[in-house]
Symmetry: C2
Subunit: 274 residues, 2 copies
């Protein structure tokens, strides 16, 4: 199943637009879990088991794993394997939040490493270096690319929001140019949930593109505002820390399950009331 | 020794502005070398032994290593260890060409992984996400950041060269804004050697900043043009494929040594004749 179809299937089956970000680090593990990479895998498995019927996607942020060197890379693989094989009756999109992007032959190597060898369905890519850096990630027509356009952090003001000569801001130009590189079955965008007011203008350019919204939860984005401007167009919302670290206790999985369910229901109820 | 001083020391001692890029991949190994990750380490060691007195820096492009999963990550560490310990009488700057950049807590994790745990002196960082994504890499005052400003590939036209409302292109604005984030002992830029004519304007904004020029050799940049516009300001030039894959034969180290010496002498002679 191609990545885009996988997401649609999962969103319908679980009635959910929630993506859980597995930003797992040793320091934040619940107190009864071993403080090492094995403990991280136990933690990831428990989070996955507790949420697999409530989400449409899992996102793995590579930075948190790379800090554990080669063990961290193995942990990414084991986690993806766990999602794909221990729950093979469940169809869930997985996203490599790696924000890669380099000259052609280098992006091709990243693409092989992440999309082929690690078995990810999709990847976040940084567009600053232009088309020849993004196209290698689009070669396999089954895979999906989320291009960074307007990120959720404060620093998004520094360059992404600068106005170009033509009067439009850089993040819109990124969307305008790059949306010619692949159709909506293969290419969508990362738009920070912290900028709901800008989403309106973005949806005027790309009504049908799939958008990944990070920034809800710990980062403070407002889902009601955001989904109002999104007005029923294709999306998924990532929540990481606010779900996975919701409890430090022995029964944290139950709390994680409840928190994920709350988020899932919140997004659905906002959408229903639009 | 702080990274910036390390580079100055190496440039003086070896009388060289050459950085060798260890873009090593199994497919391109000389024919007598084992076609696996062990073979890659043998290859890297031979390249390093053949060039250590001719360079000021080694650059490791992470993509080529990450395609070998956790073995590739171990190979990066072993290679950096080999440079730092088997040649500890030689002082050489090493650069993690990782082009990272993510929101604050994530960039902090990348910074720990690459600059602290792996022991790199410096790293290339993508500035698109703004200051809070770059600052974590600048926290350790001994380390050096090369920020992407104008890359060597064709895709640099897509966004980096777009003119802003103020009339200046994005790559200049990136330099203008980010040069306030750290002084020249900690922050420099990646400027593609394929755009010599634009270097003049860049040097008007940041005459004293250290610039890393990729794009000479296989990518076709012209060193004479480039160094004319650089006019004796601080720089290093990276050459990867044209040096490390110069020969497929049993005595490839000799060819690599000659090729590196030619490049070193070429850059010096251009500078002397300015």
């Amino acid at each position: 199943m191609i990545a885009f179809e996988k997401l649609k299937f999962a969103q319908e089956k679980n009635n959910s637009k929630l993506c859980v970000g597995l930003d797992s680090t040793i320091e934040k593990l619940p107190k009864h879990i071993e403080k090492n990479v094995n403990g991280l895998f136990e933690f990831n498995k428990k989070i996955i088991d507790a949420t697999i019927d409530l989400v449409c996607s899992y996102k793995i942020n590579f930075a948190f794993y790379e800090q554990y060197g080669s063990d961290g890379i193995d942990l990414i693989k084991k986690t993806i394997n766990y999602i794909n094989h221990n729950h093979q009756d469940k169809i869930i999109l997985n996203i490599a939040d790696a924000k890669r992007g380099d000259i052609g032959n280098t992006s091709a190597a990243y693409s092989k490493a992440i999309l082929i060898d690690m078995g990810f369905d999709s990847i976040t890519v940084n567009p600053l270096m232009g088309s020849d850096c993004v196209l290698p990630f689009l070669e396999d027509k089954e895979k999906f690319v989320f291009l960074l356009a307007l990120t959720s952090n404060k620093g998004s003001q520094d360059f992404q929001m600068l106005n170009l000569e033509s009067g439009i801001p850089l993040y819109k130009k990124i969307i305008e140019i790059s949306s010619k590189w692949a159709d909506e079955n293969q290419l969508g965008y990362v738009i920070g949930a912290t900028h709901p007011e800008m989403l309106k203008g973005i949806r005027e350019i790309i009504p049908n593109r799939l958008l990944l919204f990070p920034g809800i939860g710990t980062q403070g984005g407002n889902a009601t505002e955001l989904l109002k401007y999104n007005s029923h167009n294709p999306y998924l919302i990532n929540v990481s820390r606010d779900i996975i670290y919701t409890s430090n206790e022995i029964n944290f999985e139950e709390k994680v399950n409840l928190k994920a369910e709350n988020y899932k229901n919140l997004f659905n109820s906002i959408d229903e009331n639009l």
